[in-house]
Structure formats: C-alpha cells, structure tokens
C-alpha cells in the first residue's frame, strides 16, 4: 500500500492537495483574516500608544511596564478574576456532577427533569444577570426576605456589597449549570455497569464506588470542564458587567461609572480590558492586556493538561 502511494503521479498529488486546500479554504481564510491577522495586529499595537483616533506610536514595553508596576486596577481585576476561577470552577464541577447524579435517579420523567435543569442555561446572560440582581436585592429581593424570615437579621448585600458580590455571580453560574450538567450526565451514563458490579462483589460501599469507579471514569469530563471553566473564567464579562451596572443603580452605561461596582469587587480582567480599549480609547494598552491574558490562559491550560496525566483516566487507555 505504501508503495502505491509513493508511486502516485506527481500531478495527481498536486490535484489532490489542491482539492484538500479548496475544501479547507473557508477555514483557512477565516483563520488568516479573522484570527491570525487581528492577533498579530494586536501584538503590534501592544507595543504602541494607540487611541484608535491617531496613528499608533511605538513605545516599546511601556504598556507592559505600566500594567505591572503602576496600574492598581490591573491587579485588582486580576485578583478578582483569579478568585472567580478558583471558587467558581470547582463549585461548578461539584454541583454539575451532583445535579447530573440526581438526574440518574428518577425511574420515570427523566427527560422532563433534564429539560427543567437545562433550561436556565438557555437564558440570555444579560437577562439572567439582571434577574439575579433583582432577586438578590438586599432590601426587597425575595432571597433576603426569606433569609430574614428564617432568622437572619443581617443577610448579605449580595451584588451590592464588595464581600458578597462575587458570590452572587457564583450562584448565577451554578443556576445556569445546565451545559456542564449535560456533559457530566453523559459521562455518568457512560460508566459501564459491570465496573459497579465488580466493585460491589469486592465489598465496596456507595462512597467507595463513587471514589474508585465513578470519579476515575468521569475524570476526562472533569478535565474538560476544568480547562473550559478556566478559559471562560478569564473571559468573564457579560454577566459581571450587567450585574455591576444594575447594582450601581442604573442600566445606563457611563464611562465614568465606578469600575466594577461595588468597590471594584466586580472588576474582572475582560471588563477592565474593554473599559481601557473602548471607553478610555487606550487600544494599545488594551492590546497589551489581551496578550497578557492570552499568555496567562495558555500557561494555565498547559499546566492543567500536563497535570492531568496523573489523574485523568481514559477507558482502555489507563492514565495518559
């Protein structure tokens, strides 16, 4: 067979190559024009002072130096983003697995429950964020009214307090767990029954079956959710932006609105990047921020992938 390929006429090879190229051309064009070109442009802009209003002026590493040494908002946004990833991603995974497990229990009506649990994830992010701000309003929101009713005299300020605003976003994320839940549900249903039966024969109790059968079999899904969660966490924008604006008392966008109200607690990396680029017109600085974000995201992703070799189990393939 290999010999036949080697003997393939050169002309035929070229034609085959061109056919492949033709079929791939939409993606290649899209990649070159919509991804590679903007990325390289932004890399260049990151070394310039560029306001979009004037020609970019080369300033070397000044944007990066300013970012790391003189911009307190950069570090505030970075800390907030790391917090939401460190707290939100594990909670989403735990809650996603728990919800998926619940959905494996009903003997009838499973599809209805799945639909009901999945529905929140289909809500538009802005609408969901605004609804949450309303529901969690510290004065007249139903959540705090219930909390007061059961004896909590001083319930959290939620989106209106710097210590509780990010928890509000975490709860919003857990409410829309549907997308992660579906993946975990597929993973749970994919665990071979005979593994549980073998574990039972060995005398494993429920907790041990979960620890030594379910978790290893789910590990590829957990790994996938972790990587996606971290990447999305670094890009968190819509819900936080809408909730911050709503909590600041107005849905009117204003360049002078306090950054990440309340008290900067909802200033996330992507929000600050947007604010710098499109409200303060510092596109060069925003480009530098985007590249720092890219590098950080890459480092985190590669670290998780490298670390996954020790804990991710692939069926039939052992630990890779």
């Amino acid at each position: 067979m290999a010999g036949e390929i080697q003997r393939r006429p050169r002309k035929r090879n070229v034609k085959h190559g061109l056919t492949v190229l033709l079929f791939m051309s939409p993606w290649i064009l899209g990649f070159l024009l919509l991804i590679l070109y903007p990325m390289l442009s932004s890399l260049y802009f990151s070394f310039t002072k560029y306001s979009l209003l004037e020609q970019p002026v080369w300033i070397g590493l000044e944007n990066y130096t300013f970012m790391f040494t003189k911009d307190p908002f950069f570090w505030l946004a970075f800390r907030n983003t790391v917090w939401i990833i460190a707290v939100g991603v594990p909670l989403r995974i735990v809650f996603g697995i728990f919800t998926a497990w619940l959905l494996t229990l009903p003997r009838s009506g499973g599809r209805t429950y799945r639909t009901l649990y999945f529905l929140p994830s289909m809500a538009p992010p802005v609408a969901a964020a605004l609804a949450f701000v309303l529901i969690f309003n510290p004065e007249y929101g139903p959540v705090n009214q219930i909390l007061r009713g059961i004896g909590f005299n001083d319930p959290p300020l939620w989106f209106y307090g710097p210590n509780s605003s990010k928890w509000g976003l975490v709860l919003l994320g857990l409410w829309g767990i549907g997308d992660a839940m579906i993946i975990f549900l597929a993973g749970l249903l994919d665990v071979p029954r005979q593994l549980y039966e073998a574990a039972e024969i060995e005398g494993a109790n429920g907790r041990q079956k979960f620890r030594f059968v379910t978790l290893p079999m789910l590990s590829p899904v957990i790994f996938f959710s972790t990587v996606i969660g971290v990447i999305y966490g670094f890009q968190l924008f819509t819900q936080a932006y809408a909730a911050s604006l709503a909590a600041s008392g107005s849905t009117v966008t204003d360049a002078a609105a306090n950054l990440g109200d309340p008290q900067g607690s909802m200033l996330f990396y992507a929000i600050y990047l947007y604010q710098q680029g499109f409200q303060d017109f510092r596109m060069g600085y925003a480009s530098a921020m985007a590249w720092v974000l890219f590098v950080i995201t890459m480092i985190c992703t590669v670290t998780i992938i490298k670390g996954s070799r020790r804990w991710v189990h692939y069926q039939g393939g052992g630990f890779r």
Binding site: K49, E62, G161, T251, V252, A255, A256, N258, L259
Partner: protein, 452 residues
C-alpha cells in the same frame, strides 16, 4: 511598462482627489445666498437619542432644511461614543455627531477626532458669547474647541415639601451645615435602627452623588493650573469634601459614630430603586432631599405628578455661602468628526442646532433639558415650571462652572478618585491624606503615560 506607469499614476491622482474632496479639515465658506446654485447634500447625523426623544429630535431638521433647502439631514439614533469612534477610526464617519458623554471631550479635542471648530468660528464670525461661559470649559480642551453645546444639564437639590413641612423646616438649606441640620430632622429610623427615610444620602454611587458633582460643589480643582498634574492631593477642598462627608455620616446616621452610620447608609443605598424609573428613591419618598439633574422634573411629571416637591440650588460650603445659586454644568455636545464627508455643510447644521432658539426651546420643552443659549433661556415659548426655573437660573449664574475639567485621560481620573471614595465612605481607608496622595499619584501616572 509605460502603460502600467501611466495607469498607476492616474489611479493615484484619482485616489488623491477623492480623498481630498472627502473630509478636508480646512473650512471653506458655503454660499448660503438664496439665489446661489447648490448641489443637493444629505448630511448624516449620528446621535445618542433613542425612543420618544429621538422622534422629537428628528423633527428639528425640518427648520434647517427650510433655511438651507439643498441640505437634508438623515438622523440615526442610539449611537454611542464607541460606535462613533469606530467609524472615525475606519475612515467612514458621519457628517455630524452628538454625544451625551463629556468625559471623552479631552481626547476628542486633543486627538482631532472631533474637528476644531475655531477656524469655522473665526471665518463665519460666529458669536460664542451666545453661550454662558461655563459651557466653554466642557466643550474645549488644549486650545481646541471641538464641540458645541446642544442643551445642557445642571444638578440641584430636590426636596419633598410635605416632609419639610412636617419637620418644621421653612425652606431649602443653603449651606452644608443647614443641609446636615435638616437631614437630621428629616431622617426616620426603623425600630431596628435601620434607615426608613433618609434626610439626605451623601453616598458616592447613590444616583448623582459623585466625585465630580460634589467636587464642583466644593469648588475643588482636578488639575493644576497648567493641567499637567493632579490636584486632588493639593487642593484643600478635596480633603474638606471627604471630611464633610465623614462627619455628616457620623452625625446624621451614626449618632456620632462614623462606622455605624456608614454601615446603615451602605445598606440603605443598596436598596435604592433604579435611578431612571418610577422606583427612584426620591419619587417613592425614601429620601427627603436628593441631588439630581433638571431632567428629574420630567420624570416626576410623568411618573408621580402629585409628588409635593420643590427644587433649589445645591447648598454650598459655609465658607462659600456668598456663591449660593451656582451649580455644575455639563450636557449634550455636538461636533464634526474627523473625515466628515461634508464638513462645511456640517458646520451650518452645527451652528444652527446650537443657536436656533426655536429648536433649543422645542427640545428643552420636550426632553426637559436646559437650553444652551442666553437668548433661549428667556424665550417666552420656554415651558418654565417653578421647579425647572431653578436650573435655568443656575445656568445663568456666572459662578456656575463646568462639572469637571476635561482631561487627556478620559474618565480615568474619576474612576481613580471614585475607587478611593467608595472605600473611604465605608471606612476601609482611614488615612485621608495618604488616600488622596495615592489617588493623585495614580492620576499622574496615567497623565504621564498619555503624554508619551
């Protein structure tokens, strides 16, 4: 080869000619004589108005077309600064633009994104003294007057007259100590000590209570005379302002203890209704006094017409009592973007919009903003309620100033100071001097980076 060269040269010439005809920055007088021959021109106007206000705004161009029959205007609403900026950057801007955001004026003027109107003003002999002097500050920067005012806003004191009467208060406070005294009388606490009705809420982030507005009230300067450095740590009025807020909170809400008052106010402010809705705290009687813009009179007329209220100028610091009657000014602006296809005709539209009394009065009556020429302020067609008149008087007051000086760093200075202010008011920043020094340093860092 020669043919190629000729073709290339021809193409270059045509391209250059096309570029030159679209958006040259040097004004050329348009012959506006009625007998002159003119090719029809359609001006594209992008603005921020939406909904009902956009419909009203779109009607003002009929008068312009009547005056200049060869020019029609195509108005597009709902356009924010980001879209305008993108269009300018892409080289495909409209002829004229309108913005609600003043924080970008410094950048628009300094970068030329909005064209300097001074050449047009000089060439046409336009009389800028038609505008009260306060508008010049917020429409100019670094020697470039790149915007004209088109209606403006002022902030003043709204107070509930029934609550005043019940508390035995005769009239609005004129000084900050009177404000504090009245607020104490008007505040009502719940049995658990939380605030039921606030006399006045001096809380950054609470509606229009912001560092620029309060800074203006104290007469505090954002920058040194030459604009090169921040003055938030050197102008003593900033420190006085923050100290006043601290003392007010402790006295009115904390029974002498700042932290108690701050905790109560933080929770109260968190429960505020949306500013631009009928849930606004002043409209529902949750506050007895509030700082707000003249537009609130329209909201109240529409949403709670029976609300017993009156308006007054901001109370001023006790040592500035003789300046009572002034207020912060700043509102809608219009300009000609860089690359405007018809800049000369755009100038005609701009000068018409900024000065035509009928237009200004019509818009002022409908969107309830303050008209921006001295002539329009006294026009008999202006629908003046007692509450609205307060703001007209404030605008004419020579001591009224722009709410803030423009800067080359947009809203960054406000964000930096607001970041400190929101920590200060909850007690997280105890050292006022150090906090202001740090804010000033951050602003200076931003200025230095912008100046590279």
């Amino acid at each position: 080869m020669k043919r190629w060269l000729i073709a290339m040269a021809t193409f270059a010439l045509v391209a250059a000619a096309c570029t030159a005809s679209g958006g040259g920055d040097t004004p050329s007088a348009v012959d506006t004589a009625s007998g002159a021959s003119h090719a029809p021109v359609t001006l594209e106007m992008w603005g921020a108005w939406t909904g009902r206000e956009l419909k009203q705004f779109n009607t003002i161009f009929d008068g312009f077309t009547e005056k200049y029959p060869w020019i029609t205007v195509n108005s597009t609403g709902g356009v924010n600064d980001q879209k305008i900026l993108a269009a300018i950057s892409a080289g495909d801007p409209p002829d004229t633009v309108l913005s609600f955001t003043l924080d970008s004026v410094g950048q628009f003027c300094a970068t030329g994104a909005w064209q300097d109107l001074n050449p047009y003003i000089e060439q046409s002999g336009f009389d800028v003294s038609q505008f009260p002097p306060s508008v010049e500050v917020y429409t100019s920067y670094a020697g470039s007057r790149c915007a004209f005012p088109f209606l403006t806003d002022l902030q003043g004191l709204y107070y509930n007259t029934d609550m005043f009467e019940a508390a035995g208060i005769d009239g609005p406070p004129q000084t900050l100590s009177e404000l504090q005294e009245d607020a104490k009388k008007l505040t009502v606490f719940n049995s658990d000590g939380s605030i039921k009705v606030a006399g006045f809420v001096p809380w950054f982030g609470y509606y229009e209570f912001s560092t620029p507005n309060l800074g203006n009230l104290f007469g505090a300067k954002w920058y040194s005379e030459d604009g090169s450095t921040s003055a938030v740590d050197t102008d003593a009025q900033w420190k006085a302002m923050f100290q006043w807020q601290h003392d007010f909170i402790a006295d009115v809400y904390g029974d002498g203890d700042f932290q108690t008052g701050a905790d109560k106010l933080e929770r109260f402010a968190a429960g505020a209704g949306d500013e631009f809705s009928s849930a606004n705290d002043f409209e529902v009687g949750r506050t007895a006094m509030n700082f707000d813009g003249e537009w609130r009179t329209a909201f109240i007329a529409d949403e709670v017409p029976d609300l017993p209220y009156a308006t007054a100028p901001y109370p001023v610091p006790d040592d500035q009592a003789d300046t009572y009657g002034r207020g912060p000014v700043g509102g809608t602006i219009i300009g000609i973007p860089k690359g405007s296809p018809h800049p000369d005709e755009a100038w005609l539209l701009l000068s018409y919009m900024a000065t035509d009394t009928d237009t200004l009065v019509f818009m002022a009556n409908n969107v309830r903003n303050v008209p921006t020429t001295i002539a329009s302020l006294s026009d008999p067609g202006l629908d003046v309620t007692p509450q609205f008149k307060t703001f007209l008087d404030m605008f004419e007051n020579p001591a009224s100033t722009a709410y803030k000086e423009p800067s080359a760093i947009g809203a960054s200075d406000q964000n930096i100071l607001a970041s400190f202010a929101t920590k200060w008011q909850v007690g997280k920043e105890a050292d006022l001097d150090a906090g202001l020094a740090s804010a000033a340093q951050q602003i200076n860092d931003q200025l230095a980076q912008a100046a590279i």
